[in-house]
């Protein structure tokens, strides 16, 4: 169905080009998007990536379009599935640029694919506002590809966020020094564990159990029972969605009672609270949002209204803010000239649903790093650069 639509679209594009009528007076802005609809990351993209993009397209067109140099241009989306495959993503981007001739690109999804596509996006001179890439070397990438902007934090920042949250909890007397740290053996988990363990030791914590497990593993009873045997005060898992759920369920069943229970990607998903209900209270995870921000709450309400998808408490708003950054830069530049838009992104901070984002160095320095489920919402409890972090609470005993 999708393919057929695309083909019809391509055919009509050819027809239009041949008559040569519309080419002179541009009526719409074409936005190209390539991200996973299938493959291992499709699950995350379906919550975090696609709905925010849909909402942005809807919002802009509902306003009558983008104001480009006094002319209102509606936006039109051309989207492809990259099958969670970097090579496929590169091909898609190439196709969007050369065949579909899109005016601007929405960034791909995930660290790996943003990095894989960055060279070709840079070569073609398109602005690249990466909203789902958490990497160590953002400053270096920004230098190498001056068209690229990095909105998410680095792995070190997220790992330090965990230490920050644990320190806050320790100072409040919620936990002692003994920490169990596990991670998924994939780029994300390895980077966070590599950054987190030394930071924990430096902060005076004692790592009493550490282990890694393969990507995709959901039979994690042994991990929890070994962690429990080490009698930790806090449990930290740099995990992916499938294992985030599996670890939490096992901890609940095996009664792993700790003052801080932290899991990685997935804890901020609405499905997490849906699955664990009251037992989610007190659980920490990567991400978090400022639940007292009116803009963010308004964004959440509209996303649900328009796309029927419940936003997560981390990436959804970040992805939307990336589109806002592009939108405001286009309007300020007053042209679709891409070099001018890139300069405009750098020049003026953008007002987004996650707050004001300054990209004068191409790298955003403000991020929520740790959230905690309190009263049915995932409040940010640790952040870099943002105010308004909520005080963490001690994780109550598991409900049986």
């Amino acid at each position: 169905m999708f393919k057929r639509t695309m083909m019809a679209l391509a055919a009509s594009a050819v027809a239009i080009a041949m008559t040569g009528g519309i080419a002179a007076a541009q009526q719409t802005l074409k936005i190209g998007a390539s991200a996973p609809k299938t493959g291992p990351l499709a699950g995350g993209a379906a919550v975090t990536h696609w709905p925010s993009l849909q909402l942005w397209i809807h919002d802009v067109n509902a306003r009558g379009g983008l104001n480009v140099g006094g002319k209102k241009l509606k936006v039109e989306l051309v989207e492809y599935d990259d099958k969670t495959n970097p090579e496929e993503a590169v091909k898609n981007i190439q196709r969007l640029i050369t065949v579909d001739k899109v005016d601007f690109l929405a960034a791909p999804y995930s660290t790996g694919i943003n990095l894989a596509t960055a060279p070709i996006i840079a070569k073609s001179g398109y602005p690249h506002v990466a909203t789902s890439a958490a990497t160590e070397n953002m400053a270096e990438f920004a230098k190498r590809w001056p068209n690229s902007f990095w909105i998410l934090g680095s792995s070190t920042e997220y790992a330090e966020g965990v230490v920050q949250a644990l320190q806050t909890a320790q100072k409040a007397g919620l936990i002692g020094k003994r920490i169990a740290v596990v991670n998924v053996a994939d780029a994300f988990g390895l980077e966070l564990a590599a950054a987190g363990k030394p930071a924990l030791k430096k902060a005076g914590f004692e790592i009493v159990y550490e282990a890694s497990y393969p990507l995709g593993a959901q039979d994690l009873a042994p991990v929890i029972s070994q962690a429990k045997a080490a009698k930790p005060d806090a449990f930290v898992a740099f995990s992916y969605p499938g294992d985030t759920f599996a670890l939490t369920e096992q901890a609940q069943i095996q009664d792993l009672e700790v003052g801080v229970f932290y899991v990685g990607v997935g804890a901020a998903f609405p499905a997490f609270a849906g699955r664990f209900k009251d037992a989610a209270t007190g659980i920490m995870g990567i991400g978090g949002i400022n639940m007292s921000s009116k803009e963010n709450l308004d964004f959440r309400r509209r996303l649900k209204e328009v796309t029927k998808v419940e936003p997560d408490y981390w990436g959804s708003a970040v992805v939307y803010s990336g589109h806002q950054i592009l939108e405001q830069a286009i309007e300020r530049a007053g042209t679709t000239d891409r070099a001018a838009v890139i300069a405009a992104i750098r020049k003026t901070p953008a007002k987004t649903v996650i707050g004001e984002i300054d990209l004068s160095t191409n790298v955003n320095s403000k991020n929520w790093t740790v959230g905690q489920w309190q009263d049915g919402a995932f409040h940010g409890v640790a952040a870099k650069g943002f105010d308004g972090a909520k005080a963490p609470i001690r994780k109550p005993a598991w409900k049986k």
Binding site: A46, T84, Y213, P214, A217, V223, P241, D255, A271, G274
Partner: protein, 288 residues
């Protein structure tokens, strides 16, 4: 003790994943690459029944199994039968069926994406503590294990104690000779394929109570099933069950005693050992 019980429970899960494929591959000679998708589809149907109509997954089995049986029967009759008729030898059928079911994989995946989207799904059913020898285990896993046991036993009785079961085994050993002694090979193969599909779907229904799943996850299960089926000896239910248990216990022991990071390494090391020393599988017969 705790390691043993956890391992045996995990083995039950693996048996659920693999039993269907062993029938489909061993008897119907169809290397069904869409087996993981069948399983995930059952997860989705169970989730949908549970979320929309409050049908408990155990009752869901009663609906899912016959439906899967019928659908797999139809798939065999319409899609795979022509391949079987056309194939000049076993090798050709294997190649053709792998290609056909590879296509089926994408069809199923596309349908699930269309129906449910790509997000992760999970729900709570029997996620309670259940104590065995004083250690806590997840009740849903215990239930899945018992169901696996029940299914394996019923399958064993069917295959070794009934007339049509004997026919199924005969076809598994040698389709050509079975024809000679008056067994309707085509009907038996269709029965085995449909039964295999129904078993896989039952596995999916039970697994959905403790796995977080999404539409793109099928291939994980297909791989696991493949390893177990080949380890156990193609077409041998006892072999597949035993292989699943060995795998479950090995993985748990390695994860607990050495390092969870080596879980996959242990699986493949075991697989390699079996291939090296008993290439026909644990219960497989030496080809003559």
């Amino acid at each position: 003790m705790e390691i043993l019980v956890t391992g045996i429970l995990l083995g039950g899960t693996y048996a659920l994943i693999a039993l269907g494929l062993t029938l489909q591959y061993g008897v119907a000679r169809i290397m069904n690459l869409a087996t993981g998708e069948t399983l995930v589809a059952a997860c989705f149907i169970t989730f949908w029944l549970f979320a929309s109509y409050q049908v408990s997954p155990l009752w869901g089995l009663v609906l899912v199994a016959p439906a899967a049986f019928a659908i797999n029967w139809a798939i065999y009759m319409w899609l795979l039968k022509p391949l079987v008729d056309r194939a000049k030898n076993q090798g050709m059928l294997e190649v053709d069926s792998i290609l056909a079911t590879f296509g089926l994989l994408f069809l199923f995946q596309g349908l699930m994406l269309r129906g449910f989207g790509g997000a992760y799904f999970t729900y709570t059913y029997l996620a309670e503590r259940f104590e065995i020898f004083g250690s806590p285990y997840a009740l849903n896993r215990v239930v899945a294990f018992l169901a696996a046991l029940l299914i394996a036993a019923a399958l064993y009785l069917f295959l070794y104690r009934t007339r049509s079961g004997t026919a199924v085994r005969a076809v598994a050993v040698n389709p050509n000779s079975s024809n000679l002694v008056g067994i309707d090979v085509a009907a038996t193969a269709a029965l085995a394929f449909a039964l295999g599909g129904a078993l896989t779907a039952c596995g999916g229904t039970l697994l959905s109570t403790f796995y977080t799943f999404n539409a793109s996850m099928g291939v994980v299960f297909t791989l696991k099933a493949l390893i177990i089926v080949i380890m156990g000896g193609v077409g041998d239910v006892r072999g597949a069950t035993l292989a699943a248990l060995i795998l479950g216990i090995t993985e748990t022991a390695v994860a607990s005693l050495i390092d969870p990071g080596l879980m996959l390494a242990a699986t493949y090391a075991l697989f390699m050992l079996v291939l090296l020393f008993r290439p026909q599988g644990i219960f497989g017969k030496q080809p003559t």
